[in-house]
């Protein structure tokens, strides 16, 4: 652990794979930028890899004041121990006050290993971050400007705000898609700090034999309109209604976990706590009851239309347009209306 260091920077781990900067560190930049400004400190990205220097510009354009660049032959492919060692060394050297990671498979593999080594706190899967004050109960001491690590817990039924006031850095992983992507500012200038590291054989215990990328069948995060079906659709055959409605709107087809579990559609289309978090302009929920886990992934949509035969379905509590009715009757009527209006 490091001491409480009020001058410490705010850091974002700039996850990249084969030179592709992931979305989530970029999403984190706008929030991290504002927090760094509130704290009056610099925002830095840590970029580890091999031949990744060209990503520095993108990080600076999206809000970083500084990029710690660590390039090494052995960092070309992610593996836990090597990356954890480099991050551990950087944290000890520069004593940042906040370190943020994307809650990707890589972030969720790496961050706890670092937290354990450094004996610092870590909050998983945050959906929001804020700067705020906390008074400790035992001694009534006021701790100003802490990182509020806000996350759903208990299957999404409660929202917990976690703090870490004495054993720093304050670290969190943040879910993909919960923060909007900032626009780049091509005029922004920043500093590159190139770090040299030694990586030994014992830092590389894994041999990566094969790797297969499976591109997602749908990009829900980028969709402006989403049509999602639930268990209420009834069958894989009947799910065609969802596809048809999506097609005539140029929307992305999606589903609740229940519909995915029933085999109506591939898991790539799943919206919710264990799927993708989306924030489209329009979300049409067809035969989705709206369990809290589903709502966690879609309640930020600008407008929500819900179609369900059960007037007490929880989805109606977050929807803006409530249609109580048989989806087999309502969806074709919607398709007809859209075709008429958009010709």
């Amino acid at each position: 652990m490091i001491d409480v260091n009020r001058n410490g920077e705010v850091w974002v781990f700039a996850e990249q794979h084969n030179g592709d900067l992931q979305d989530v560190p970029v999403e984190l930049m706008s929030k991290a930028r504002r927090m760094a400004d509130t704290l009056g400190v610099k925002l830095a990205a840590t970029l580890l890899g091999n031949g990744v220097k060209e990503l520095v510009t993108k990080l600076i354009q999206h809000g970083a004041d500084k990029v710690y660049l660590v390039e090494h032959r052995s960092l070309g492919q992610y593996q836990t121990n090597g990356y954890a060692k480099v991050m551990y060394d950087l944290i000890h050297k520069y004593q940042p006050q906040i370190v943020l990671y994307g809650a990707t498979t890589t972030g969720r593999d790496l961050a706890p290993r670092i937290a354990s080594a450094i004996k610092a706190g870590l909050t998983a899967d945050c959906t929001d971050l804020q700067i705020g004050d906390h008074t400790t109960v035992a001694d009534k001491k006021l701790h100003k400007n802490l990182l509020f690590q806000i996350r759903p817990a208990f299957g999404g039924n409660i929202i917990a705000t976690i703090i870490n006031h004495d054993r720093w850095p304050q670290m969190a992983t943040v879910r993909e898609g919960v923060m909007p992507m900032p626009e780049p500012d091509v005029k922004r200038k920043g500093e590159i700090v190139e770090e040299k590291v030694k990586i030994s054989k014992q830092d590389l215990p894994l041999k990566i034999l094969e790797e297969h990328k499976r591109p997602k069948k749908v990009n829900l995060k980028a969709a402006r309109v989403i049509v999602a079906g639930g268990a209420g659709v009834g069958s894989k055959e009947n799910f065609k209604l969802v596809w048809d409605l999506a097609n005539c709107l140029g929307a992305a087809p999606a589903a609740s976990r229940a519909a995915v579990d029933l085999g109506f559609i591939d898991k790539d289309h799943q919206v919710g706590q264990t799927g993708t978090t989306v924030r489209p302009s329009l979300y049409i929920a067809v035969g989705i009851s709206g369990a809290i886990q589903h709502q966690a992934g879609m309640s930020q949509s600008q407008k929500i239309v819900a179609i369900n035969s059960d007037p007490n379905a929880p989805i109606f509590q977050v929807a803006h347009y409530n249609i109580v009715g048989d989806l087999n009757d309502v969806v074709p009527k919607m398709i007809k209306a859209i075709k008429e209006k958009t010709v």
């Binding site: 969720r108 593999d109 929202i159 976690i162 215990p205 894994l206 803006h320 347009y321 409530n322």
Partner: protein, 303 residues
């Protein structure tokens, strides 16, 4: 060669099946009304360990850190084929965050012979997925998370397939290793009838104490003590006494346990109340739907 597997399991409230009875009037969840279950992905971890034992030999030990009620998931593990079960329970474990939990588990696992430590990828109450990697770091061993398949065990090397979010990779390493196992890895077996018969009376010391106290409300301290001892020695003789460890038995340094060992603290908890937004009810008629579509186009929600 044979492999000793240690499986870390957790009893969790069944957050995925929140029914009407578990909801309070104000729309929040009544946690005590939720049934306690075996954390789903821990069952996948146990299944993988049992498959390793069946194929290569060795022993499967399960450990849970929790309240005395967690004895239930230990018995369930014995029904499914585990060889040994340990309840790690101590009031001083209360308020442990993931870091303190991983420290306490490390102290317990250190007492055992292990080649492979297995955990579920994450528990459904917290969904953090942190304890596995933190425990691996504290044990000073390699971790491989998000396991979808055990490809090969050969002498001291292990090859597995892991999920990397947008695909998968196959990785190889040298034992000992800690694996976190996903729900895609296998189909957990159910309890075996024979083993249920054998272990249905297996008890942890804390359960024995509770049962004897409940059955003998009028007994003196001394009588209770001797009844408990008798029962323990009876079960022990029949291989039905489930091990129970506290923080002293695992030689844990108390500064790293419980509240003092936990850097993260709760600032605030808010129940999620399903928000009633401004909403319109649309008639499921052609006109109702057509008017709604018109409004969405006017508002530039639909292009």
């Amino acid at each position: 060669m044979a492999y000793n597997c240690v499986v870390l399991i957790k009893q969790v409230p069944d957050t995925k099946r929140i029914t009407g009875q578990a909801m309070n009037e104000d729309g929040t969840v009544n946690r005590t009304a939720l049934p306690a279950i075996f954390n789903p992905e821990d069952l996948n971890a146990l299944e993988l360990a049992l498959q390793i034992k069946e194929k290569y030999g060795g022993k499967v030990t399960v450990i849970t850190m929790g309240l005395p009620a967690a004895s239930e998931v230990l018995r369930d593990s014995l029904f499914r084929g585990a060889d040994d079960a340990i309840l790690l329970t101590d009031k001083r474990c209360a308020a442990s965050d993931t870091l303190a939990t991983s420290y306490i588990l490390r102290c317990a696992v250190k007492k055992l012979d292990y080649d492979i430590v297995l955990c579920g990828r994450q528990a459904i109450d917290g969904d953090t997925a942190q304890v596995g990697p933190q425990l691996a770091e504290k044990l000073g061993i390699t971790q491989i998370t998000y396991i979808e398949e055990l490809s090969e065990l050969n002498g001291k090397t292990i090859t597995v397939r892991r999920n990397i979010g947008n695909g998968w990779q196959k990785v190889k390493t040298v034992l000992p290793v800690l694996l976190t196992v996903t729900g895609d890895a296998n189909e957990p077996r159910v309890a075996a009838a024979k083993k249920m018969m054998k272990y249905k009376n297996a008890r942890t010391p804390v359960e024995i104490e509770r049962e004897i106290k409940a059955d003998n409300p009028d007994a003196t301290e001394q009588e209770l003590k001797s009844l408990i001892e008798m029962k323990q020695s009876d079960l022990s003789g029949r291989g039905l006494l489930i091990k129970q460890w506290g923080l002293d038995e695992v030689e844990a340094d108390l500064t790293w346990c419980g509240r003092s060992g936990s850097p993260t603290k709760v600032h605030r908890i808010q129940s999620v109340v399903l928000a009633a937004k401004e909403s319109k009810t649309i008639e499921p008629s052609e006109k109702g739907i057509s008017d709604m579509i018109h409004e969405l186009i006017e508002d530039k929600i639909i292009a």
